[in-house]
Amino acid sequence: VKAAVTAGLAPERAVLPNGTTVLVQETTFSPAVTFSVAVRGGGLYEPAALPGLAWFTGRVIDRGTASRSADAIAEALDDRGVTLKASTSRHLITLSCTCLSEDFAEVLALVADAARHAAFHPEEVEKRRAETVTAIRQDQDSPGVRASEMLQASLYGGDHPYGRPAKGTIGSVEKFTRADLIALHAARFAPSATMVIVAGDVRVPDAITLVDRVFGDWHAAHPEERPVPPVPRHTVRHERRILMPDKSQSDIAYGFTSINRLDPAYCSYWMMNTILGQFGLGGRLAENIREKQGMAYYAFSSFDPSLGPGPLMIRAGVDPANVERALAAIDDEVGTFGREGATAQEIADTRRFLIGSIPRMLENNSSIATFLQTVEFFGLGLDYDRRLPALLEAVTLEDVNDAAASVLDPSRACVSVAGPEPPA
């Protein structure tokens, strides 16, 4: 197994008769297992009138089942040092955790029970509702969150599942009923919509047997797939500002809609984004805004494609007096890259960096589990980590320049800024 991990992953994939997909990667560097149970029940699937319902489902799902009280679950997790995390993305609700190998069978059984038989007890719904309202108020007080959320809304439209805030609004959260949670769960949670990813110190056949034991007798109809609504491509620039007078720094979010994860140009976009806002401290953006101009502690870009066209987002935090200078620098880097492309040296360095990063990206159980979940969700193939170097080798300077030309245009950018007023 040591040799296998050194040379690349060698996961095994099984599909249970009821449609549950299982991926297992055995590792031996630590007596622990990381696993996730991911269900296609993310924000895309919540009713448009109830934004945040999927996120809220994740908050309540592990707080009691038909046969286990919230206290019993709490006891079982805490006794083993396990933090169960529910994360909700646009497409998935994922329950994930790390446990000692000796606890894997019991913790897996508990998580399966939560995914299948969540009770959504009324008192738990009320407690988590109050927490969620507080969390939304905290978000509203954060210039970084405000700028990013406003950018997403500008890019996709406020009602689009990629454009609305994941947690919803205080108004929507106050409306959720227990029946809404039960309905979303009943509609979307099914074995054929579920993948179980296991990475750690466990034998592959044992892991598959254990997953089968706790998921194998689950029967529910395959939920109808829902397409990602069309994503607008902006033809003019949109700029929006949020005034937050008592803050010390302004946050800039600047971006575009891009491509989906299965687009053949994915690797070209990945390399383009790395050059623009990732390589080193934060690519060309950090070189200009942080290193040359000393204007920001962070300036970077991120590229997050999914089943629908994901955002390419630039972020920077600057002194309120420097907002216009920073925007001018971003416009300059974006415009120059879009028009003139990358250099051969940048392509070579970025390619070496990304290919060389693969062993580091797959070093521990949690990073392996995350990677395999992506592989399974997008159907990239079990040998994807070993094919990646060749895919990156095949990207040419022209491919990266085409990607840059197709998206990097300041006259089509959406821009949002949250922070105090600049000094007069």
């Binding site: 040591k2 007080d141 954060s142 008592d246 010390s248 960096f353 990304l354 060389g356 580091r360 070093e363």
Partner: protein, 427 residues
């Protein structure tokens, strides 16, 4: 196990071979942090850390970027109250390059005046970004109130006024005083051959001359004689509450019992500052979680106790539930704390806390980067041998010891209480 060697110039080198992935993690640690700074010079250690990514005699500034990346690597550094450290994790074939970079950083930094100036505004931006977060703002105020004399009172990033006034000579002087082989520990973990590492490290670092190791003289904190309070009022949406009690230093016999107590109160974090404190702890049965979050008055609670050279603080931080008054949360939290001080914890709670700590110590050592951090952190902050003995010392802690530290250390006159009171309008 690690091999430990000293070079003639005083540099300590610790190597551990781990061959599960074709990676190497190199960390260079310095025995200097914000706790070693004089008034007027606060933040100098952290600023120096930033300057040490700006080019050296043999690595021009423009070439700094990209050296590690070409090996698929990542690099970083951080400064805290007792230590400054630099790291790279990359493909194992990068080893020699990484050792070269760290040797250059130790002795040959350029500190170009223009770079010092441009970094001044970057760091001020880092500070202002932190100030945007009310919880962080409150933390700064509470820590400053908890200490009267000891330099742990100022934030690692420094006071804004000092960041505006320090000069290039202040930075360079600090760098030359503290960045000496005898004040450093090089840690190498990964798919390496120990003898090969020592040979290469000898080539790169052996050319750096020995220099005096600065004495770490810090003012002792006088005993606190009564509860302190600080109230921050600012525009905001959410109230925050923070407690800070004077805490035992890592070598204090009370430290392990205090760590178990924290696990029982707020869930075990483990001991890895680099990784463990990023994820939520297991805490659904923890005393303060059940009393305050399940009790509906707080939306989150966290505790922080870290291994430090001198007595620092034990923090408990709370996010107040929307619509609940700060007084209500403070009363509920202190009521839960007083119950533990009077009656101690159950045997079950202590056993659970110890199991959590054992599990977290496995989880936080899951990569060459994390293993190397733990080796270097404890070597630099506490001293040799401590980390190896810690697991069994924690497991030996008894319920009586936990009750004793709760009663003695979480007393009213040892605490500072901080409120962040959000205002709807600007004051």
């Amino acid at each position: 196990m690690s091999r430990s060697v000293h070079l003639d110039n005083g540099l300590k080198i610790l190597v551990r071979e781990i061959h599960t992935a074709p990676l190497v993690s190199v960390w260079c640690w310095y025995g200097v942090g914000s706790g070693d700074e004089a008034p007027g010079q606060t933040g100098v250690s952290h600023w120096v850390e930033h300057m040490n990514f700006k080019g050296t005699e043999r690595i021009p500034r423009d070439e700094m970027k990209g050296i590690v990346e070409r090996f698929g690597g990542t690099w970083n550094g951080y400064t805290w109250i007792d230590q400054t450290t630099y790291l790279e994790t990359a493909g194992k074939e990068a080893l020699d390059t990484l050792l070269f970079i760290e040797a250059e950083r130790m002795a040959y930094g350029l500190y170009e005046p223009a770079d010092c100036e441009s970094e001044r505004t970057v760091i001020i931006s880092e500070l202002q970004g932190g100030d945007n977060d009310p919880d962080q703002l409150l933390d700064t105020e509470v820590t400053a109130s908890a200490f009267r004399a000891h330099p742990y009172r100022h934030p690692t990033i420094g006071w804004l006024e000092d960041l505006r006034s320090m000069s290039r000579e202040d930075l360079f002087g600090h760098y030359r005083r503290h960045y000496t082989p005898g004040n450093a520990t090089l840690v190498v973990v990964g798919a390496v051959d120990t003898d090969d590492v020592l040979k290469r490290a000898g080539v790169h670092f052996g050319r750096i001359p020995a220099a005096p190791v600065p004495e770490r003289r810090r003012a002792a904190e006088p005993p606190q004689r009564g509860e302190r309070r600080v109230i921050v009022e600012r525009q905001g949406a959410t109230a925050y509450l923070k407690f800070a009690w004077h805490a035992p230093a890592a070598l204090d016999p009370d430290f392990c019992a205090m760590l178990v107590l924290d696990a029982a109160l707020t869930g075990a974090k483990g001991l890895n500052l680099w990784t463990s404190f990023r994820g939520a702890p297991p805490q659904r049965r923890a005393r303060l979680y059940t009393a305050l979050v399940e009790g509906g008055v707080a939306s989150s609670v966290s505790g922080a106790l870290l291994a430090t050279r001198d007595p620092f603080v034990y923090n408990v931080s709370l996010t107040v539930m929307d619509g609940v008054a700060l007084e209500t949360v403070e009363d509920a939290a202190l009521c839960a704390i007083e119950t533990v001080r009077e009656k101690g914890l159950t045997e079950d709670e202590v056993a659970r806390a110890k199991r959590q700590l054992r599990a977290r110590m496995v989880f936080e050592n899951d990569s060459v980067t994390n293993v190397a951090h733990q080796i270097g952190y404890f070597e630099t902050v506490v001293g040799p041998g401590y980390l190896e003995a810690l697991g069994s010392k924690l497991q030996a802690v008894t319920a009586a010891q936990v009750a004793d530290v709760a009663a003695r250390l979480l007393s009213k006159d040892r605490r500072t209480v901080g409120w962040f009171q959000p205002l709807k309008e600007r004051p």
